[in-house]
Each structure stands twice: as structure tokens, then as C-alpha cells.
Amino acid sequence: MGFDFKFFGNMFLIVLGKLPVTLFVAITSMLIALVIGYAVDTCRRLQIPVLKQLAELYVYLVRSFPVIVIIYMIYYGTPVFFATLNDAFGLTLPESRTLINPYIFGVAALSLNSGAFLAEVIRSAMRSVGKGQTEAALSIGMTDGQVMRRIIIPQALAAAIPNLGNSFLNLIKATSLVYRVTIIDMMAVATIAAALDFRYLESYTVVAIVYWLLCVVFEKLFVVLEKSASKYKKPV
């Protein structure tokens, strides 16, 4: 049994058909993770008493757990969580894994995982902007919100984009694991289609090539993003 090139070619269409699923999971998780990361970093920065310790515990735990462990924990834990919510608040959330939309498992797990890493990225980016700038802005009468919006965030964003890109690429690679929680993505269709003919090597090669091209494209995209975010650095 050599390498079946005809099967290899056919698999491309099948696998690429599920590319939107992967992109959806990755982009949604990234957006939620950005929110989580920013919230966690804000708790740490403003030294809010209880939330700061919780935030640090969250980052520490999630960075130590492998992604697959978090995915399985959310998969098995969400029905339990919903059941306790139902008992406590009398809601009617689904209590069985088969009734819950599997995208909830995938997006929740990946955004929780990435949120911890993004918290560190955002922390280092915010700290790279000098404190003197905040003081100067406040001294000319800007409100806190204006300082954030006009001074800190643009500069922090430019500093963070390489690391954000790195995190996003890791997130895309982590989406290869969500097929285990019944999301029908590229890995799932590759496994299913391959099982018919036992042509596992050809289908996984297709998946590998698609993921690789995806990463190359996003790498270039982030380089462009970084250039446009750093425009303010041009000398006047």
C-alpha cells in the first residue's frame, strides 16, 4: 500500500470544507481570551484585593495544565456545572453532554487556556509603556479612560502584537484537539474519511498541510498588523 495520491487530492476538498469550523473556534476563542486576559490583568494592575489573588491563581493553574486536560475538564464538567446552576437558580439548562452545543466546550476551553497566556502578554505590553506617560497625561487633565484609550492602549497594542500573534498561532494549533469533544472540524472529517479506507497517512498529511498554510498566512498577517500598529513610531 503506497501513498494514494488520488485519495490525497480528494481529501483536500473534504478537509477544506471544515476549515470555517476551525477558524470560527479559533477566532471566537481569541476574542474571548483577549477579554479574559485584559480583565485578569486589570485585576492585578489595580490591586483589587480578592480578585487579584484569584487572577494570579487562575493564570498559574491554567498555564500548568495541558490544553487537552482543560478541554476534557470542560467537557465533563459543564453538565455538572449546569446541573448545579439549575438546582441553585431553577434554570433549565441542558444537563446532558449530548444536548449541549459542542462549540461551547471547544470555545470555553480554548478561551480559558489562552486567556491565561494573554494575561501575561497584556501585562508585559502594558508595563512596557512608561509610567511617566500616564503621569504626564493625568497632569494635563485627561481622565483615566482617556489616558487608557489615547496613550496606553495604542502603545501597548504595538508592543503586544508579536506575542499576540504567537498566542493566536498556538490557539490555531490547539483547535486540532477539539475534535475529541465532538466538534466536527478538520481533524474529525480526516479521521472519519480515513477510517473507510484505512488511508490515515494521506488524510493527516492533508490536515498537516492545511494547518501549516494557515499558520503561514496568519504569520504574515500579524507582520502586517504590527507594521500598521507601529505607525505612530515614525519620526516626525
Binding site: E56, V59, S64, P66, M73, N170, K173, Y200, L201
Partner: protein, 256 residues
């Protein structure tokens, strides 16, 4: 209120999971060691200019870094026997753990070659020129001047890769190896789905403890190597709170 979550189950599953811990550690250690060795020629090939070697090495690193580890695991597991059949080698009798070790070796070698490359470039080239100009051979200059400084620069990143490698070995169960995740899944099926989340919380806690131990060991290693190389380590004033500093994660480290 019904009880859905059984905290005692976390402790009982821990006992059963401990039996799989040596496997995870051995495969992680072997893969990291072999990867560290393999990364050196890859890094040096990448730094040659415009040659077939540098293109091959760049392609290898780009492919390994751009594809998920799970996909690489499946590629090696399903593909290596087919590939070796061309040369007439029949490896269908090989243990699955060998395939996992090969995959993680290649995986870590790609990332470590980048670490080596950045450490090499971070040492001032003028030092090498000065060393060569006073009559040292290239080998002497490399060993006495470049290597100690590059080692100090590379060590935190190598440490991060070590921690990442331990977490990456959690994927071994997908090809049927009975490691921590494999035993956790078996616990779930053995208890007919009664003990599910507790088993994975136990697995996560084991990985937590592993990361803490490795982080502390790395800190110790950095100080020891620093003393041996005669370079003083200037630690930046790091106020990250006690949880973060325990695991020894460095700034800018990323997961997976």
C-alpha cells in the same frame, strides 16, 4: 441538592494515576535530551547562507512549528512504517512509545533550534573575532567564549521548552499509550461515567506539581550554571506574585 461533584474521587484517582507518571517523565526527558542534541545541527544549518542545508532546516522548523503536535504524532505513527517500507524495514512490531518519543524529539528539536539560534546571535560577534585574532582555533573560541554566554542566555528558554514538552506529552494517549490522560479516560469508563471531572482535575494537579518541581529545578540550574560559567545573572525586579514565580515561567513564555 444532589451531589454532582465528588472531591474524594480526586484523591482515589491520584493513586491510580501515579502509576503512569514515570512513563510521562521518561518520554519527556528522552524527547527533550534527544531534541537538544538534534537542535544543534539544525540551528547551525539554518545559519549558513543560501544553501540547500539552510533551506531544508528552515522548512523543517517552519513545518514543525506550524502544525499541531497531535497531527505530527499521527503522521509519525501512521506514516513512519509506510516510509520505512520503502527501504524494506518492517517496524510494525515497534512499541507505540517509540513513535511518541520520535515525534516529541522532532517537535522539541525545531523549537530548541530557534532557542539556540537566538542565543548564538545574542552574543556579540566581536568577541568571536577577538578570540580568533589572538590565535584561538575556532573550536576553542566556540567552547571558551561563545558557549558559556550562549548557554546562560538560552537556559530560561530551554527551561520553558522543557515545561512545554512535559505538557505536550499529554497527547500520547491518542495513539493508545496508557499515560496519565489514557489512565484518566480508563478511570472514566471503568466507573461508567460516574467519576469524570475528578479524574481530570487530578491529572491537572499532577501536571501542576510537575511544573512547579521543574521550575524550581531550573532556577537552581540557572544559578549553578551561572556560577560555573563565571557569569553573574542579573534578575530583573520581578513582582509577579508568589504563584507565578513558583512555576519559574519567564516573561514572554507561551504555552503549548
Amino acid at each position: 441538592m444532589k451531589q454532582y461533584f465528588n472531591p474524594e474521587a480526586v484523591l482515589t484517582t491520584l493513586e491510580r494515576l501515579m502509576s503512569a507518571l514515570p512513563l510521562t517523565l521518561i518520554i519527556a526527558a528522552v524527547s527533550l535530551a534527544a531534541g537538544m542534541l538534534l537542535a544543534a545541527p539544525i540551528a547551525s544549518a539554518r545559519m549558513k547562507r543560501h544553501s540547500l542545508q539552510s533551506w531544508l532546516a528552515a522548512f523543517f522548523v517552519s513545518f514543525i512549528r506550524g502544525t499541531p503536535a497531535l497531527v505530527q504524532l499521527f503522521l509519525i505513527f501512521f506514516g513512519l512504517p509506510e516510509f520505512l517500507k520503502i527501504f524494506g524495514l518492517n517496524i510494525t512490531g515497534w512499541d507505540k512509545r517509540v513513535f511518541a518519543a520520535i515525534t516529541f524529539t522532532l517537535f522539541s528539536s525545531a523549537f530548541l533550534s530557534e532557542v539556540y539560534r537566538s542565543a548564538y546571535l545574542a552574543v556579540d560577534q566581536g568577541q568571536m573575532e577577538a578570540a580568533l585574532s589572538i590565535g584561538m582555533t575556532k573550536f576553542q573560541a566556540l567552547m571558551r567564549i561563545l558557549f558559556p554566554q550562549a548557554l546562560i542566555i538560552a537556559l530560561p528558554n530551554i527551561g520553558n521548552q522543557a515545561i512545554g514538552m512535559v505538557k505536550e506529552t499529554s497527547l500520547m494517549f491518542t495513539i493508545g499509550i496508557a499515560d496519565l490522560m489514557g489512565i484518566a479516560n480508563r478511570i472514566v469508563s471503568d466507573s461508567y461515567g460516574l467519576i469524570n471531572m475528578e479524574a481530570f482535575i487530578a491529572v491537572g494537579l499532577i501536571y501542576c506539581v510537575l511544573c512547579v518541581i521543574i521550575g524550581q529545578a531550573l532556577k537552581l540550574l540557572e544559578v549553578t550554571v551561572g556560577k560555573w560559567c563565571g557569569v553573574r545573572i542579573e534578575k530583573p525586579n520581578d513582582r509577579r506574585g508568589k504563584f507565578a514565580s513558583l512555576t519559574g515561567f519567564r516573561r514572554g513564555a507561551d504555552g503549548l
